[in-house]
Symmetry: C2
Protein backbone atom coordinates (compact mmCIF):
# COMPACT_ATOMS: atom_id res chain seq x y z
CA UNK A 1 0.00 0.00 0.00
CA UNK A 2 1.73 3.15 -1.20
CA UNK A 3 0.65 6.73 -1.11
CA UNK A 4 0.71 9.56 -3.58
CA UNK A 5 3.53 12.06 -3.03
CA UNK A 6 2.66 15.69 -3.05
CA UNK A 7 2.17 17.05 -6.57
CA UNK A 8 3.67 20.41 -7.39
CA UNK A 9 2.38 22.62 -10.20
CA UNK A 10 4.08 25.45 -12.03
CA UNK A 11 1.47 27.68 -13.60
CA UNK A 12 4.11 29.80 -15.30
CA UNK A 13 5.51 26.78 -17.12
CA UNK A 14 4.66 26.24 -20.76
CA UNK A 15 4.03 22.58 -19.86
CA UNK A 16 0.27 22.08 -19.61
CA UNK A 17 -1.07 21.55 -16.12
CA UNK A 18 -2.66 18.22 -16.99
CA UNK A 19 0.67 17.03 -18.31
CA UNK A 20 2.52 18.12 -15.19
CA UNK A 21 0.10 16.08 -13.12
CA UNK A 22 0.33 13.08 -15.45
CA UNK A 23 4.14 13.14 -15.32
CA UNK A 24 4.22 13.18 -11.56
CA UNK A 25 1.60 10.46 -11.27
CA UNK A 26 3.54 8.31 -13.71
CA UNK A 27 6.75 8.81 -11.81
CA UNK A 28 5.02 7.84 -8.58
CA UNK A 29 3.92 4.58 -10.20
CA UNK A 30 7.25 3.85 -11.88
CA UNK A 31 9.18 4.67 -8.72
CA UNK A 32 6.93 2.41 -6.68
CA UNK A 33 5.48 5.14 -4.47
CA UNK A 34 2.18 3.85 -5.78
CA UNK A 35 1.93 0.08 -6.07
CA UNK A 36 -0.54 -2.05 -8.05
CA UNK A 37 -3.95 -1.95 -6.41
CA UNK A 38 -3.45 1.44 -4.79
CA UNK A 39 -6.38 3.79 -5.11
CA UNK A 40 -5.99 7.41 -6.17
CA UNK A 41 -7.90 10.11 -4.34
CA UNK A 42 -11.26 10.89 -5.93
CA UNK A 43 -11.16 13.21 -8.95
CA UNK A 44 -13.09 16.05 -7.38
CA UNK A 45 -11.09 16.02 -4.16
CA UNK A 46 -7.74 15.73 -5.90
CA UNK A 47 -8.71 18.49 -8.31
CA UNK A 48 -9.70 20.68 -5.39
CA UNK A 49 -6.52 20.05 -3.42
CA UNK A 50 -4.42 20.87 -6.50
CA UNK A 51 -6.43 23.95 -7.36
CA UNK A 52 -7.47 22.50 -10.72
CA UNK A 53 -10.83 22.03 -12.35
CA UNK A 54 -12.17 18.54 -12.57
CA UNK A 55 -11.89 18.27 -16.39
CA UNK A 56 -8.22 19.21 -16.22
CA UNK A 57 -7.48 16.60 -13.60
CA UNK A 58 -9.49 14.04 -15.57
CA UNK A 59 -7.33 14.82 -18.58
CA UNK A 60 -4.24 14.07 -16.53
CA UNK A 61 -5.59 10.75 -15.33
CA UNK A 62 -6.73 9.88 -18.85
CA UNK A 63 -3.13 10.04 -20.06
CA UNK A 64 -2.19 7.23 -17.70
CA UNK A 65 -5.37 5.29 -18.38
CA UNK A 66 -4.45 5.38 -22.08
CA UNK A 67 -1.02 4.04 -21.21
CA UNK A 68 -2.62 1.18 -19.32
CA UNK A 69 -1.14 2.25 -15.99
CA UNK A 70 -4.37 3.32 -14.27
CA UNK A 71 -7.88 1.91 -14.30
CA UNK A 72 -11.01 3.90 -13.58
CA UNK A 73 -14.16 2.26 -12.27
CA UNK A 74 -17.40 4.07 -11.83
CA UNK A 75 -18.60 3.91 -8.28
CA UNK A 76 -15.24 2.57 -7.13
CA UNK A 77 -12.36 4.86 -7.94
CA UNK A 78 -9.09 4.94 -9.81
CA UNK A 79 -6.52 2.22 -9.24
CA UNK A 80 -2.95 1.44 -10.22
CA UNK A 81 -2.62 -1.50 -12.63
CA UNK A 82 -0.15 -4.33 -12.15
CA UNK A 83 1.21 -4.92 -15.62
CA UNK A 84 4.56 -3.73 -16.85
CA UNK A 85 4.17 -1.41 -19.79
CA UNK A 86 6.49 -1.14 -22.72
CA UNK A 87 6.20 1.77 -25.10
CA UNK A 88 5.60 1.21 -28.80
CA UNK A 89 8.60 1.98 -31.05
CA UNK A 90 10.82 0.82 -28.25
CA UNK A 91 9.61 -2.63 -28.93
CA UNK A 92 12.70 -4.26 -30.25
CA UNK A 93 14.88 -5.88 -27.71
CA UNK A 94 17.71 -8.27 -27.80
CA UNK A 95 17.23 -11.64 -26.32
CA UNK A 96 20.94 -11.94 -26.11
CA UNK A 97 21.98 -11.86 -22.49
CA UNK A 98 25.08 -9.85 -23.14
CA UNK A 99 23.04 -7.24 -24.92
CA UNK A 100 20.69 -7.12 -21.96
CA UNK A 101 23.57 -6.40 -19.66
CA UNK A 102 24.42 -3.27 -21.57
CA UNK A 103 26.63 -4.44 -24.40
CA UNK A 104 26.38 -1.87 -27.18
CA UNK A 105 25.18 -3.04 -30.57
CA UNK A 106 27.49 -2.31 -33.46
CA UNK A 107 26.29 -1.34 -36.90
CA UNK A 108 27.88 -2.02 -40.26
CA UNK A 109 26.36 -0.19 -43.22
CA UNK A 110 26.44 -2.60 -46.15
CA UNK A 111 24.88 -0.20 -48.61
CA UNK A 112 23.21 3.19 -48.65
CA UNK A 113 22.06 4.70 -51.91
CA UNK A 114 19.17 6.23 -53.78
CA UNK A 115 17.38 3.71 -55.96
CA UNK A 116 14.13 3.55 -57.89
CA UNK A 117 11.23 2.18 -55.87
CA UNK A 118 9.87 -1.10 -57.16
CA UNK A 119 6.16 -1.82 -57.11
CA UNK A 120 6.08 -3.15 -53.57
CA UNK A 121 8.20 -0.40 -52.02
CA UNK A 122 6.31 2.25 -53.93
CA UNK A 123 3.04 0.85 -52.72
CA UNK A 124 4.19 0.69 -49.11
CA UNK A 125 5.66 4.19 -49.16
CA UNK A 126 2.75 5.65 -51.11
CA UNK A 127 4.97 6.93 -53.92
CA UNK A 128 4.80 6.04 -57.63
CA UNK A 129 6.94 3.05 -58.65
CA UNK A 130 10.23 4.32 -60.02
CA UNK A 131 10.37 7.21 -57.58
CA UNK A 132 13.75 7.79 -55.95
CA UNK A 133 13.98 6.30 -52.46
CA UNK A 134 16.83 5.67 -50.08
CA UNK A 135 17.79 2.02 -49.85
CA UNK A 136 19.75 1.12 -46.77
CA UNK A 137 21.18 -2.19 -45.67
CA UNK A 138 22.75 -2.67 -42.27
CA UNK A 139 24.20 -5.54 -40.31
CA UNK A 140 23.90 -5.22 -36.56
CA UNK A 141 26.07 -7.10 -34.12
CA UNK A 142 26.85 -7.45 -30.46
CA UNK A 143 30.43 -8.33 -29.55
CA UNK A 144 31.13 -8.99 -33.22
CA UNK A 145 28.33 -11.54 -33.28
CA UNK A 146 25.81 -10.50 -35.94
CA UNK A 147 22.15 -10.87 -35.12
CA UNK A 148 20.21 -8.65 -37.52
CA UNK A 149 20.27 -7.96 -41.25
CA UNK A 150 18.11 -4.94 -41.88
CA UNK A 151 16.94 -3.35 -45.12
CA UNK A 152 15.10 -0.04 -45.10
CA UNK A 153 13.52 2.18 -47.72
CA UNK A 154 12.74 5.87 -47.19
CA UNK A 155 11.33 8.53 -49.51
CA UNK A 156 14.07 10.98 -50.41
CA UNK A 157 12.05 13.97 -49.24
CA UNK A 158 11.76 12.55 -45.74
CA UNK A 159 15.41 12.60 -44.85
CA UNK A 160 18.82 13.01 -46.43
CA UNK A 161 21.08 10.12 -45.56
CA UNK A 162 24.15 11.58 -47.28
CA UNK A 163 26.85 11.78 -44.68
CA UNK A 164 24.55 10.49 -41.97
CA UNK A 165 26.40 8.46 -39.40
CA UNK A 166 24.26 5.37 -39.08
CA UNK A 167 26.88 3.58 -37.05
CA UNK A 168 26.40 5.99 -34.16
CA UNK A 169 22.68 6.71 -34.43
CA UNK A 170 19.74 4.39 -34.98
CA UNK A 171 17.55 5.09 -37.98
CA UNK A 172 14.59 6.11 -35.86
CA UNK A 173 16.81 8.35 -33.78
CA UNK A 174 18.06 9.97 -36.97
CA UNK A 175 14.52 10.53 -38.16
CA UNK A 176 13.53 12.06 -34.85
CA UNK A 177 16.48 14.44 -34.99
CA UNK A 178 15.32 15.33 -38.48
CA UNK A 179 11.98 16.44 -37.12
CA UNK A 180 10.06 13.31 -38.11
CA UNK A 181 7.65 12.13 -35.41
CA UNK A 182 6.64 8.51 -35.80
CA UNK A 183 3.07 7.79 -34.91
CA UNK A 184 1.70 4.57 -36.43
CA UNK A 185 3.36 1.44 -37.78
CA UNK A 186 2.01 -1.67 -39.40
CA UNK A 187 4.17 -4.67 -38.76
CA UNK A 188 4.34 -8.32 -39.75
CA UNK A 189 6.42 -10.90 -37.95
CA UNK A 190 7.11 -14.41 -39.11
CA UNK A 191 9.90 -16.90 -39.59
CA UNK A 192 11.69 -18.81 -42.33
CA UNK A 193 14.93 -20.57 -43.12
CA UNK A 194 18.09 -18.63 -43.87
CA UNK A 195 19.20 -18.48 -47.49
CA UNK A 196 22.85 -18.61 -48.49
CA UNK A 197 23.75 -14.91 -48.42
CA UNK A 198 21.74 -14.26 -45.28
CA UNK A 199 23.34 -17.19 -43.51
CA UNK A 200 26.81 -16.01 -44.47
CA UNK A 201 26.23 -12.46 -43.24
CA UNK A 202 24.59 -13.61 -40.02
CA UNK A 203 27.26 -16.27 -39.37
CA UNK A 204 24.58 -18.95 -39.39
CA UNK A 205 24.11 -22.18 -41.27
CA UNK A 206 21.92 -22.30 -44.33
CA UNK A 207 18.43 -23.31 -43.30
CA UNK A 208 18.75 -21.97 -39.78
CA UNK A 209 15.52 -20.39 -38.48
CA UNK A 210 15.31 -16.61 -38.80
CA UNK A 211 12.76 -14.19 -37.42
CA UNK A 212 11.39 -11.99 -40.21
CA UNK A 213 9.86 -8.59 -39.69
CA UNK A 214 8.48 -6.12 -42.20
CA UNK A 215 7.25 -2.77 -41.06
CA UNK A 216 5.89 0.43 -42.56
CA UNK A 217 5.92 3.48 -40.32
CA UNK A 218 3.88 6.67 -40.63
CA UNK A 219 4.59 10.06 -39.11
CA UNK A 220 2.24 12.38 -37.28
CA UNK A 221 1.08 13.85 -40.57
CA UNK A 222 0.01 10.42 -41.77
CA UNK A 223 2.81 10.25 -44.32
CA UNK A 224 4.54 6.91 -44.98
CA UNK A 225 8.07 7.53 -43.77
CA UNK A 226 9.87 4.22 -43.70
CA UNK A 227 9.50 0.66 -44.92
CA UNK A 228 11.72 -2.06 -43.56
CA UNK A 229 12.34 -5.71 -44.26
CA UNK A 230 14.47 -7.31 -41.57
CA UNK A 231 15.97 -10.66 -40.64
CA UNK A 232 17.09 -11.75 -37.19
CA UNK A 233 18.92 -14.78 -35.89
CA UNK A 234 16.24 -16.60 -33.95
CA UNK A 235 18.64 -17.70 -31.24
CA UNK A 236 19.71 -14.13 -30.50
CA UNK A 237 16.58 -12.09 -30.93
CA UNK A 238 12.91 -11.94 -30.02
CA UNK A 239 10.38 -9.16 -30.50
CA UNK A 240 8.84 -7.96 -27.27
CA UNK A 241 5.88 -5.63 -27.17
CA UNK A 242 2.97 -4.45 -25.09
CA UNK A 243 -0.53 -4.24 -26.47
CA UNK A 244 -2.97 -1.79 -24.93
CA UNK A 245 -6.59 -2.08 -25.92
CA UNK A 246 -8.65 1.08 -25.67
Amino acid sequence: MGSLPRIGLDRSSPVPLYFQVAEQLERAIVDGALVPGDRIEAEIELAGSLGLSRPTLRQAIQVLVDKGMLVRKRGVGTQVVGAKIRRPFELTSLHDDLARTGQPAGTEVLSCAVVEADDEVGHELQVPPGSPVWSLERLRSVRDEPFALMRNYLPVDVVDLRGADLTALGLYELLRHGGVHLRVANQRIGARRAEAREARLLAERRGAPLVTMTRTAFDDAGRAVEHGDHLYRADRYTVELTLVDR
Copy 2:
Protein backbone atom coordinates in the same frame (compact mmCIF):
# COMPACT_ATOMS: atom_id res chain seq x y z
CA MET B 1 -10.91 13.74 -51.94
CA GLY B 2 -13.85 12.38 -49.98
CA SER B 3 -16.44 14.13 -47.93
CA LEU B 4 -17.98 13.48 -44.55
CA PRO B 5 -21.46 11.94 -44.75
CA ARG B 6 -24.15 13.46 -42.62
CA ILE B 7 -23.86 12.42 -38.97
CA GLY B 8 -27.04 11.49 -37.14
CA LEU B 9 -27.38 11.67 -33.38
CA ASP B 10 -29.85 9.94 -31.08
CA ARG B 11 -30.08 11.83 -27.83
CA SER B 12 -32.41 9.24 -26.32
CA SER B 13 -29.83 6.50 -26.85
CA PRO B 14 -27.74 5.27 -23.92
CA VAL B 15 -24.75 5.43 -26.25
CA PRO B 16 -22.81 8.62 -25.42
CA LEU B 17 -22.99 11.36 -28.01
CA TYR B 18 -19.23 11.54 -28.44
CA PHE B 19 -19.19 7.81 -29.12
CA GLN B 20 -21.97 8.06 -31.69
CA VAL B 21 -19.94 10.68 -33.52
CA ALA B 22 -16.72 8.66 -33.23
CA GLU B 23 -18.42 5.55 -34.61
CA GLN B 24 -19.77 7.36 -37.63
CA LEU B 25 -16.48 9.10 -38.30
CA GLU B 26 -14.65 5.78 -38.09
CA ARG B 27 -17.10 4.16 -40.46
CA ALA B 28 -16.66 7.01 -42.92
CA ILE B 29 -12.91 6.40 -42.89
CA VAL B 30 -13.12 2.61 -43.06
CA ASP B 31 -15.70 2.74 -45.82
CA GLY B 32 -13.56 5.15 -47.77
CA ALA B 33 -15.99 8.07 -47.70
CA LEU B 34 -13.04 9.90 -46.16
CA VAL B 35 -9.70 9.11 -47.71
CA PRO B 36 -6.17 9.74 -46.39
CA GLY B 37 -5.37 13.43 -46.46
CA ASP B 38 -8.98 14.58 -46.23
CA ARG B 39 -9.59 17.38 -43.80
CA ILE B 40 -12.45 17.32 -41.30
CA GLU B 41 -14.54 20.44 -40.75
CA ALA B 42 -13.23 22.63 -37.95
CA GLU B 43 -14.18 21.58 -34.44
CA ILE B 44 -16.29 24.59 -33.61
CA GLU B 45 -18.21 24.51 -36.86
CA LEU B 46 -18.79 20.77 -36.77
CA ALA B 47 -19.89 20.99 -33.16
CA GLY B 48 -22.29 23.76 -34.06
CA SER B 49 -23.78 21.94 -37.01
CA LEU B 50 -24.30 18.83 -34.88
CA GLY B 51 -25.74 20.76 -31.96
CA LEU B 52 -22.93 19.66 -29.66
CA SER B 53 -20.55 21.55 -27.44
CA ARG B 54 -16.98 21.79 -28.55
CA PRO B 55 -15.56 19.59 -25.73
CA THR B 56 -17.97 16.82 -26.65
CA LEU B 57 -16.98 16.91 -30.29
CA ARG B 58 -13.32 17.06 -29.30
CA GLN B 59 -13.84 13.92 -27.25
CA ALA B 60 -15.24 12.17 -30.32
CA ILE B 61 -12.28 13.19 -32.44
CA GLN B 62 -9.88 12.20 -29.69
CA VAL B 63 -11.13 8.62 -29.88
CA LEU B 64 -9.98 8.37 -33.48
CA VAL B 65 -6.77 10.26 -32.82
CA ASP B 66 -5.95 7.67 -30.14
CA LYS B 67 -6.60 4.93 -32.66
CA GLY B 68 -4.19 6.56 -35.06
CA MET B 69 -6.85 7.22 -37.69
CA LEU B 70 -6.92 11.02 -37.42
CA VAL B 71 -4.23 13.62 -36.91
CA ARG B 72 -4.82 17.05 -35.41
CA LYS B 73 -2.57 19.98 -36.21
CA ARG B 74 -2.86 23.33 -34.56
CA GLY B 75 -3.43 26.08 -37.06
CA VAL B 76 -4.13 23.55 -39.79
CA GLY B 77 -7.00 21.23 -39.00
CA THR B 78 -7.81 17.57 -38.56
CA GLN B 79 -6.80 15.09 -41.24
CA VAL B 80 -7.33 11.43 -42.06
CA VAL B 81 -4.16 9.36 -41.68
CA GLY B 82 -2.89 7.12 -44.45
CA ALA B 83 -2.31 3.90 -42.54
CA LYS B 84 -4.54 0.89 -42.23
CA ILE B 85 -5.21 0.26 -38.57
CA ARG B 86 -5.51 -3.11 -36.88
CA ARG B 87 -6.91 -3.43 -33.38
CA PRO B 88 -4.82 -5.01 -30.62
CA PHE B 89 -6.05 -8.47 -29.62
CA GLU B 90 -7.09 -9.01 -33.21
CA LEU B 91 -3.55 -9.21 -34.33
CA THR B 92 -3.28 -12.81 -35.39
CA SER B 93 -3.79 -13.63 -39.03
CA LEU B 94 -3.30 -16.58 -41.26
CA HIS B 95 -0.86 -16.22 -44.06
CA ASP B 96 -2.61 -19.02 -45.84
CA ASP B 97 -4.42 -17.68 -48.86
CA LEU B 98 -7.36 -19.98 -48.49
CA ALA B 99 -7.80 -18.85 -44.93
CA ARG B 100 -7.87 -15.28 -46.16
CA THR B 101 -10.74 -16.04 -48.44
CA GLY B 102 -12.89 -17.00 -45.52
CA GLN B 103 -11.98 -20.60 -44.73
CA PRO B 104 -12.89 -21.19 -41.08
CA ALA B 105 -10.21 -22.35 -38.68
CA GLY B 106 -10.96 -25.61 -36.90
CA THR B 107 -9.94 -26.29 -33.32
CA GLU B 108 -9.01 -29.58 -31.69
CA VAL B 109 -8.74 -29.53 -27.89
CA LEU B 110 -5.82 -31.79 -27.00
CA SER B 111 -6.17 -31.33 -23.26
CA CYS B 112 -8.06 -29.19 -20.81
CA ALA B 113 -7.60 -29.71 -17.09
CA VAL B 114 -6.79 -28.04 -13.79
CA VAL B 115 -3.14 -28.42 -12.85
CA GLU B 116 -0.77 -26.92 -10.30
CA ALA B 117 1.03 -23.83 -11.55
CA ASP B 118 4.78 -24.26 -11.86
CA ASP B 119 7.12 -21.42 -10.94
CA GLU B 120 7.00 -19.72 -14.32
CA VAL B 121 3.25 -19.91 -14.78
CA GLY B 122 2.66 -18.83 -11.20
CA HIS B 123 4.95 -15.87 -11.74
CA GLU B 124 3.29 -14.84 -14.97
CA LEU B 125 -0.23 -15.19 -13.57
CA GLN B 126 0.66 -13.57 -10.25
CA VAL B 127 -0.45 -16.58 -8.21
CA PRO B 128 1.65 -18.71 -5.82
CA PRO B 129 3.38 -21.70 -7.43
CA GLY B 130 1.22 -24.78 -6.87
CA SER B 131 -2.03 -22.83 -7.22
CA PRO B 132 -4.66 -24.52 -9.36
CA VAL B 133 -4.80 -23.17 -12.90
CA TRP B 134 -6.47 -24.29 -16.08
CA SER B 135 -4.08 -25.80 -18.57
CA LEU B 136 -5.36 -25.91 -22.11
CA GLU B 137 -3.76 -27.23 -25.26
CA ARG B 138 -5.30 -26.74 -28.67
CA LEU B 139 -4.38 -27.53 -32.24
CA ARG B 140 -5.76 -25.15 -34.83
CA SER B 141 -6.16 -26.02 -38.48
CA VAL B 142 -7.51 -24.76 -41.75
CA ARG B 143 -8.82 -27.31 -44.22
CA ASP B 144 -7.36 -30.04 -41.99
CA GLU B 145 -3.95 -28.46 -42.32
CA PRO B 146 -2.68 -27.62 -38.84
CA PHE B 147 -0.89 -24.34 -38.34
CA ALA B 148 -0.93 -23.57 -34.61
CA LEU B 149 -0.21 -25.47 -31.42
CA MET B 150 -1.39 -23.37 -28.52
CA ARG B 151 -0.98 -23.83 -24.78
CA ASN B 152 -2.76 -21.55 -22.34
CA TYR B 153 -2.88 -21.18 -18.58
CA LEU B 154 -5.68 -19.37 -16.72
CA PRO B 155 -6.32 -18.86 -13.00
CA VAL B 156 -9.32 -20.97 -11.97
CA ASP B 157 -11.14 -17.97 -10.53
CA VAL B 158 -11.07 -16.15 -13.85
CA VAL B 159 -13.17 -18.59 -15.83
CA ASP B 160 -14.61 -22.09 -15.61
CA LEU B 161 -13.67 -24.12 -18.67
CA ARG B 162 -15.73 -27.18 -17.66
CA GLY B 163 -18.11 -27.85 -20.50
CA ALA B 164 -16.89 -24.83 -22.41
CA ASP B 165 -17.01 -25.39 -26.14
CA LEU B 166 -13.61 -24.25 -27.27
CA THR B 167 -14.13 -25.67 -30.74
CA ALA B 168 -16.84 -23.13 -31.47
CA LEU B 169 -15.54 -20.13 -29.53
CA GLY B 170 -12.08 -18.64 -29.30
CA LEU B 171 -10.54 -18.35 -25.86
CA TYR B 172 -10.67 -14.57 -25.86
CA GLU B 173 -14.26 -14.66 -27.05
CA LEU B 174 -15.07 -17.02 -24.20
CA LEU B 175 -13.40 -14.70 -21.70
CA ARG B 176 -15.31 -11.72 -23.06
CA HIS B 177 -18.58 -13.59 -22.72
CA GLY B 178 -17.56 -14.37 -19.16
CA GLY B 179 -17.30 -10.68 -18.39
CA VAL B 180 -13.50 -10.45 -18.65
CA HIS B 181 -12.33 -7.37 -20.51
CA LEU B 182 -8.79 -7.65 -21.81
CA ARG B 183 -6.83 -4.45 -21.64
CA VAL B 184 -3.07 -4.94 -21.68
CA ALA B 185 -0.84 -7.76 -22.88
CA ASN B 186 2.88 -8.31 -22.85
CA GLN B 187 4.03 -10.41 -25.73
CA ARG B 188 7.20 -11.97 -27.08
CA ILE B 189 7.63 -13.30 -30.59
CA GLY B 190 10.55 -15.32 -31.87
CA ALA B 191 11.39 -18.43 -33.84
CA ARG B 192 13.02 -21.82 -33.41
CA ARG B 193 13.17 -25.30 -34.92
CA ALA B 194 10.35 -27.77 -34.41
CA GLU B 195 10.94 -30.59 -31.96
CA ALA B 196 9.64 -34.10 -32.56
CA ARG B 197 6.19 -33.87 -30.93
CA GLU B 198 5.56 -30.39 -32.26
CA ALA B 199 6.52 -31.42 -35.76
CA ARG B 200 4.24 -34.44 -35.62
CA LEU B 201 1.22 -32.43 -34.45
CA LEU B 202 1.83 -29.64 -36.95
CA ALA B 203 2.47 -32.09 -39.82
CA GLU B 204 5.92 -30.62 -40.29
CA ARG B 205 9.40 -32.05 -40.45
CA ARG B 206 11.62 -31.98 -37.40
CA GLY B 207 13.74 -28.87 -37.51
CA ALA B 208 11.27 -26.86 -39.57
CA PRO B 209 11.11 -23.19 -38.57
CA LEU B 210 8.29 -22.28 -36.19
CA VAL B 211 7.07 -18.88 -35.03
CA THR B 212 6.95 -18.78 -31.23
CA MET B 213 4.75 -16.45 -29.22
CA THR B 214 4.31 -16.12 -25.48
CA ARG B 215 1.82 -13.71 -24.08
CA THR B 216 0.43 -12.67 -20.72
CA ALA B 217 -2.82 -10.74 -20.79
CA PHE B 218 -4.31 -8.50 -18.09
CA ASP B 219 -7.91 -7.41 -17.72
CA ASP B 220 -9.26 -3.95 -17.04
CA ALA B 221 -8.74 -4.45 -13.32
CA GLY B 222 -5.04 -5.11 -13.87
CA ARG B 223 -5.41 -8.80 -13.00
CA ALA B 224 -3.32 -11.37 -14.90
CA VAL B 225 -5.94 -13.35 -16.75
CA GLU B 226 -4.15 -15.58 -19.22
CA HIS B 227 -0.70 -16.81 -20.09
CA GLY B 228 -0.04 -18.48 -23.40
CA ASP B 229 2.84 -20.26 -25.09
CA HIS B 230 2.18 -20.86 -28.74
CA LEU B 231 3.84 -22.36 -31.81
CA TYR B 232 2.99 -21.65 -35.44
CA ARG B 233 4.08 -23.14 -38.71
CA ALA B 234 6.13 -20.36 -40.24
CA ASP B 235 4.94 -21.11 -43.77
CA ARG B 236 1.29 -20.73 -42.83
CA TYR B 237 1.27 -17.96 -40.28
CA THR B 238 2.57 -14.50 -39.57
CA VAL B 239 1.75 -12.08 -36.76
CA GLU B 240 0.38 -8.78 -37.98
CA LEU B 241 -0.08 -5.82 -35.72
CA THR B 242 -0.39 -2.07 -35.62
CA LEU B 243 1.59 0.09 -33.24
CA VAL B 244 0.26 3.48 -32.26
CA ASP B 245 2.55 5.85 -30.44
CA ARG B 246 0.91 8.54 -28.37
